[in-house]
Amino acid sequence: MIPAEFKYLFPSTVDEAVRMLAEEGEDAKVIAGGQSLVPVLRMRLAAPTALIDIGGLTELTGVRDDGDSLLIGAMTTHYEVQRDHLVQDHALLLKLVTDTIADPQIRHRGTFGGSLCHADPAGDLLAPVLALDAVMIIAGPSGRREVPASEFFVDYFTTALGPDEILLDVRVPKYTGWSAHYEKLNRVAQAWSIVAVAAAVQVRDGTVSAARVGLTNVGSGPVRAVDVEAALVGQPASAEVISEAALRASSGDGYKDNLARVLTGRALTAAVAG
C-alpha cells in the first residue's frame, strides 16, 4: 500500500530537529533509516502528520572511543556496526547480534538507534543493549539527558523517549576481551526471533569472573537474566555450571520458558568456548 500523506522535514542540526518535533506536535515522527517505519507507514499502522528525517545529521553517525566506553551514534547503520573495529574489540556481543539482523539490504539502511527507539520486543538489539548496561543519550527541548537501558524500554514499542525527544548516542561500557554469543531461534530467513539469548562472559583462569545475559522476545521488552548471571559468576566455566545456570532463565510462558533455557545453555556454551 501507499502511505498516507505527511509533511516531510529535513533538519540539518539536532537543535533544528528537536525544534521541528516540538512545533509539529505529538503526531510527528522521526525517521532514521526507515526500515521499520516505512513498512509501518505502508501498512497504514501509523499515519504521522509529519516525518522528520534525521538522515542529514551526520554527527549522529559512527562509533567513537570515549575512554571506558564506546559512543555509538544513533544513525550508525547495522552494516557500519558490523564492520567497526571498536565494536569488534570492546563490544563483540553487539557485532554478533547485528550480524543476524534482517538481511544485507536492510542492514545497509537500518540504524542502531532506530531499532532501539522502535522497541519491538522481537528486535535483536534490545536484549544486548540492556545486558551490557548501555545508557541512552537523548536530546530534547530542555537540553540533554541520559537514561539507562533498564529504564529506556517501557513496553511493547514504547520507550522513555518523549514525543519531542531524539536519541543521539548510546554509551556502551567497554567489554574488552570478553567472549560472546547470540543464539537466535527463527524458522525461516529474515524472520524475527521466536526467542533469542545474548550472552557475554569474562572467563579468567577457567572461572567466570563476570557475565551478562539478555533475552529477546520473551515479554513486552528485553529481559535481563540476572539469576542466570548470578549462578555463573565465581564458578568454573564448565558444562555443569552452564546447564545449572541456564535452568534459571525464564519467560513466564511454557513454550518460551523451555526455549529460553535451552537457548541460554547454547549461548553460554558457545560464549565460553570463545
Binding site: 501507499i2 516531510y8 529535513f10 516505512v38 538481511d103 544485507p104 545497509h108 539502511r109
Partner: protein, 177 residues
C-alpha cells in the same frame, strides 16, 4: 518536495510527493521498469537497487530519502551494449526461470561480491538472504554468483582488454626525450 537524484549516471530533478516510494519513482517517473515490485512488504528483494554503492530495497525507502544520492538500477549495469559479468553469469548458468527475482538477485550479488570477492556456497546463501526466488531452488543462482566471482577476478577480462606490463612500459616516455 523538490528532489535531485542521480540514477544510472543521469541526474534527474523532480517534484515528488513525500510519500512516493523510491521504487515507484524509478518505475513510474523514470520508466526504469527493470526494477520490479515483488512482495511489496520488504521480504523478497526483487526491488533491490544500489544507493551510493550499497544495496537497498527500493520499496522500503521514500524517494525523498534518495535526494542528493546516487542510485544504480539493473538498467545501469551494462556498458557499451555489453552485459555486466554478473548478468552474463546468471545467463550462462541458467540462474533463473521466471526471471522476476533476477534484477534484485543480480543487484544483491554485485553488492555481495564487493565485500566477498571469492565467496563459498554458505557466504553466497547468507549474502542473498534478503532475496527470494520461488522457481530455481537457488542452486544455479549460487553457481552463477560464484562463476561471476571468477569472471571478475583481476586479469579475468577479455583478451583484447588485457595489457601486459611490457606493453604499458613501452608506452612510457623515455627520459631525455
Amino acid at each position: 518536495m523538490h528532489i535531485s537524484v542521480n540514477v544510472d549516471g543521469v541526474t534527474y530533478a523532480d517534484e515528488v510527493e513525500p510519500r512516493l516510494l523510491l521504487v515507484h519513482y524509478l518505475r513510474e517517473r523514470l520508466s526504469k521498469t527493470g526494477t520490479v515490485v515483488g512482495c511489496d512488504t520488504g521480504n523478497c528483494g526483487a526491488c533491490t537497487v544500489h544507493l551510493d554503492g550499497h544495496s537497498v530495497k527500493s520499496c522500503q525507502m521514500l524517494a525523498v530519502q534518495a535526494n542528493g544520492h546516487d542510485v544504480t538500477t539493473i538498467e545501469g549495469l551494462a556498458r557499451d551494449g555489453k552485459l555486466h559479468p554478473v548478468q552474463e553469469a546468471f545467463h550462462s548458468n541458467h540462474a533463473l526461470q521466471c526471471g522476476f527475482c533476477t534484477p534484485g538477485m543480480i543487484m544483491q550479488a554485485i553488492d555481495l561480491l564487493a565485500d566477498e570477492s571469492d565467496p563459498d556456497d554458505e557466504t553466497v546463501r547468507k549474502g542473498l538472504e534478503g532475496n527470494l526466488c520461488r522457481c530455481t531452488g537457488y542452486q544455479n543462482i549460487v553457481r552463477a554468483v560464484q562463476d561471476a566471482a571468477q569472471r571478475m577476478k583481476p586479469g579475468a577480462g577479455p583478451d583484447q582488454e588485457r595489457h601486459s606490463d611490457e606493453h604499458v612500459t613501452a608506452k612510457q616516455p623515455v627520459g631525455g626525450e
